[in-house]
């Protein structure tokens, strides 16, 4: 079977052929293509390992919501809606500060509980909870398409929705993900790239490998979310964090640009109102 990832058609055809013959095992039906084409040094979707997929952000996508935002990172599409403050439901623990609830819906699947808690703890670190005592702030995230790095996109979407709603926050959070295959870093990996790395296989990845997700507060230079799975050396992890910081600043530039555009709109509406 061909291992060349550029000729995807061929792979598909041979798959079909093999299936007809009924001889292939399930493991070899979909061979995992290499992360980088050795000839061109480009990834499957044509970017270099250090490139980020195109990002599109939009705020105020839902009328009537307190705050809403839509973020696209490549094929990952996330919609976030913020509502509140609300009365606490009776069963919830009483608290002198505000409480945040995060609800993540993944279209055609279920977000793992661990990831939901990660996002929740990140939001708790970002929002100034003291400003709304005994009230509940709800953050609804809908991952409309999971094309990889969905936690990072969720953080960006939630951050923008919070900015849109005017909820007091310490800083605008951004997030990004990195994939390490034992040799190189692949920033903002797509779903197929994440799936192609098998972290459980002990024989293959002696040299390590892992997925690192980082949420970042750019102006305060602080990390609000950090999770790593796999196996990496401490030095590698440190350099991974450096490149993640750089990516986060790039993502933040997009968000900042969008915010500036937004503020231009504010000025226009203000002058209209004044007239």
């Amino acid at each position: 079977m061909s291992n060349d990832s550029d000729s995807q058609m061929e792979v598909g055809q041979s798959d079909e052929f093999e299936r007809l013959k009924g001889q292939t095992k399930s493991e070899s039906l979909f061979p995992k293509p290499p992360l980088v084409n050795p000839k061109t040094n480009k990834r499957q979707d044509g970017r270099s390992p250090k490139d980020v997929r195109p990002i599109y952000v939009q705020t105020g996508v839902r009328d009537g919501a307190k705050g809403s935002a839509y973020v696209e990172m490549g094929t990952t599409k996330v919609l976030c809606i913020v509502s509140g403050p609300k009365d606490l439901p009776k069963k919830m623990d009483l608290s002198s500060t505000g409480i945040i609830s995060v609800d993540v819906q993944l279209v055609g699947g279920k977000m793992s509980e661990k990831d939901v808690i990660l996002i929740k703890e990140c939001m708790e670190a970002v929002v100034i909870l003291e400003k709304f005592p005994k009230c509940l702030l709800e953050i609804f995230l809908t991952i409309m398409e999971d094309g990889g790095s969905s936690i990072a996109a969720s953080i960006c979407a939630a951050g923008l929705a919070l900015v849109d709603s005017g909820v007091p926050i310490y800083d605008t959070p951004v997030g990004s993900t990195l994939l390490y295959d034992g040799k190189d870093f692949y920033l903002d990996p797509s779903k197929s790239e994440l799936d192609s790395v098998d972290l459980t296989d002990s024989e293959k990845n002696d040299s390590g490998g892992g997925i690192v997700t980082m949420g970042y507060l750019p102006t305060r230079e602080q990390i609000c979310l950090f999770t790593m799975e796999g196996k990496m050396d401490a030095e590698v992890l440190a350099s991974a964090m450096d490149s993640l910081t750089n990516v986060n600043l790039k993502v933040f530039a997009v968000i900042r640009h969008h915010s500036m555009e937004l503020m231009k709109e504010f000025k226009e509406t203000k002058s209209k109102v004044n007239k």
Partner: protein, 299 residues
């Protein structure tokens, strides 16, 4: 979570002490408290360990069962974790009170073990797609005196390392299906290879410093902690940020390095201990029929 309430002055005292590298019990920031591991605490399991680190006291027991492998990993065995917080540790754990803490710990453990290639799960497979071993690792928290996650991770590693997995001597075909055959000899068993298994080093930040092996009092001084899984070769297997604290990039990097350094030492001590325990187990091979256990002196 079992918590202690401290006044602001007490916290202040603790924080300033840590800043001068002298903790309340006289340790420095990178010192562990003394602990103890014993095996075969629970004799009706395939491997059990009671691990104590100062006041934290945990029993880990593994039971091995035959099962069917998962469809997505047909040639791998399964390791499951279940944490139970006994109310003996704290009245807060009465009824279902400890479930939340238990779930968090369970989550971290399974992500550390599942995604880090630390244990060769293929060695737990007998017949691909048909039979594999399912190892149920049950963790019972008897006492919680701080640093629970580290102690549990150490206990799990020691328990898996001393767990006796029956040796299948071959397969036999029954109605066209392969069936594993076990030798009748009770002493035929294998140990799991835990030479790559990680331990977890939890670093809460007290004041501006990270400390290892925090007591409950020190934990109550910090808003968040980093749980870092460290393999014996010093590589990092997982990092989890717990709680709602924020950190700077360099302080995470520094703490990861600190954890790697500490983790290698912990792993080494633990591996030595596991090997010793295995030897002692071999020497005290059980006679049949089993005699009542030799009692210790009444204390």
């Amino acid at each position: 979570m079992a918590e202690v309430l401290l006044s602001e002055e007490e916290k202040y005292y603790l924080v300033l002490g840590v800043a001068q590298d002298i903790r309340v019990d006289g340790r420095s920031r990178l010192d562990y408290r003394s602990g103890d591991v014993e095996v075969n605490t629970v004799t009706n399991s395939h491997g059990s360990v009671r691990i104590r680190l100062a006041e934290t006291d945990v029993i880990v027991a593994a039971k091995v069962d035959l099962g069917v492998p998962k469809t997505e990993t047909p040639n791998q065995g399964i390791i499951k974790f279940l944490v139970d917080c006994s109310p003996t540790a704290s009245p807060d754990f009465e009824g279902r009170g400890g479930d939340q803490l238990a779930e968090t710990i369970c989550r971290i453990l399974s992500s550390t073990y599942a995604k880090s290639s630390s244990i060769n799960l293929k060695s737990l497979c007998i017949v691909p797609k048909e039979f594999c071993y399912i190892v149920d690792v049950d963790i019972l928290v008897l006492q919680c005196g701080g640093n629970l996650l580290d102690v549990i991770a150490m206990g799990v590693k020691a328990c898996l390392g001393t767990c006796e997995i029956p040796r299948a001597s071959g397969t036999r075909y029954d109605l066209g299906k392969p069936v594993p055959v076990f030798s009748k000899d009770e002493f035929q068993f294998d140990y799991l290879d835990v030479s790559k298994a990680p331990v977890i080093v939890t670093l809460p930040r007290v004041g501006r410093y990270f400390v290892v092996d925090a007591t409950l009092e020190e934990e109550s001084c910090s808003k968040g902690k980093l749980a870092i899984g460290v393999a014996p070769d010093g590589s990092i297997t997982s990092v989890d940020k717990l709680g709602k604290a924020c950190y700077q990039v360099r302080s995470i990097a520094a703490s990861v390095q600190m954890a790697a350094k500490v983790g290698v030492d912990v792993n080494k001590v633990l591996s030595d201990r596991i090997n010793k325990l295995k030897l002692s187990k071999l020497h005290s091979a059980k006679p049949w029929p089993p005699k009542p256990e030799e009692g210790m002196d009444v204390e």
